[in-house]
Subunit: 191 residues, 2 copies
Amino acid sequence: MARPREFELDDAVTKAMNVFWQHGYRGTSLPHLLEGMGITRGSLYKAFGSKKDLFLRALDRYEQDYVDPGVDLLMGADGDGGKRIVAVFDTALRGVDCGETRGCLLCNTIAEADDGDITAQVQRMEERLTTAFRKALQEEPIASDLDADSLDEEAANLTQNYVGLRILARGENDATALRKGAEARLRQLRG
Amino acid sequence: MARPREFELDDAVTKAMNVFWQHGYRGTSLPHLLEGMGITRGSLYKAFGSKKDLFLRALDRYEQDYVDPGVDLLMGADGDGGKRIVAVFDTALRGVDCGETRGCLLCNTIAEADDGDITAQVQRMEERLTTAFRKALQEEPIASDLDADSLDEEAANLTQNYVGLRILARGENDATALRKGAEARLRQLRG
DNA sequence: CCTGTTAGGAACCAATCGGTCTAGTAAACT
DNA sequence: AGTTTACTAGACCGATTGGTTCCTAACAGG
């Protein structure tokens, strides 16, 4: 009945996500997006409505591609919880080793956002992360004897540490210093 | 010989710092600055040259007014080091209690910057903070028996945790959750 | 008082911002 | 074949961006 779309929506969102990841929401202009996505203005606005709507979809994609795997790893019941927490930090550190200088789109957006819709979305993700840390801690032999309050505290602290790590991983990538800092926190969890 | 300036340079820089603190570098427009500083375009450009130069001076002012006191506190030899570290985190948490929703200009800038000059300046401040944490740890009875490498690790970790805390303190101020997270890290240092 | 210097205000600048719209064309369906 | 839709390319929009320039008023020294 009609001509089908010539670009994959999913693919376009992924490309947009990478542009936003690199330059931030404010730092990303329409020409940036068009070049990175390989489509034209008309197609972008027909498919996504506005820059902000596209950004919200890019955040969804980031959650799906990068947050969900981490949360799943933490929530999964295989191995003890401490090893799973270490693995999540290690994934971030290995990214830095591989030259990832963009940090984390979620963390970057927490720091940049002043829009209610955007703030709500990243805060929801942040809470998911803390919940997942808590679940992993519950299944960590060393920490499992903590009471509920202490578990909350430890989980909140892991989120703080994780966000700080990834913010500091932007730009210059002094990977060894970052790893040292994480090591101090993770030592007690490493089996 | 000439008409004297009608506004205080120091005062203007402080006002600019507060505007940048609230909206970030990219999010701050010239009209924002002019209104916040109470001067006009001509005066601003004559006195500061450019928006970026003004921002670098605002960063200097932030370092002077907010970073230096923290570093001095950490480096000062009064009391044991652990209490001094706790005091630095407490200062940030008390700010949140008092309704400070702008986070920390230094940490926000780390997350936002993509300019070499700006990045260099905030990284220098970040290193000062880590060095100060290390000094305080050295004078903390519990930690003073650590070897040099372990001290580096603990200091780097405190910086990570501090940055994460202050990034998460932007916007919504769920102060209790922030305090819980910090408490988990500081418990061992609290005498 | 006079002259040189500067502040201040506002007009002005080119460039870019996010966003809309139009043409003409290409592809799918009945 | 005819209809419908999405494609591309580009002009175009008003608003805003950071930055400049000019004119006038205020103040200093001689």
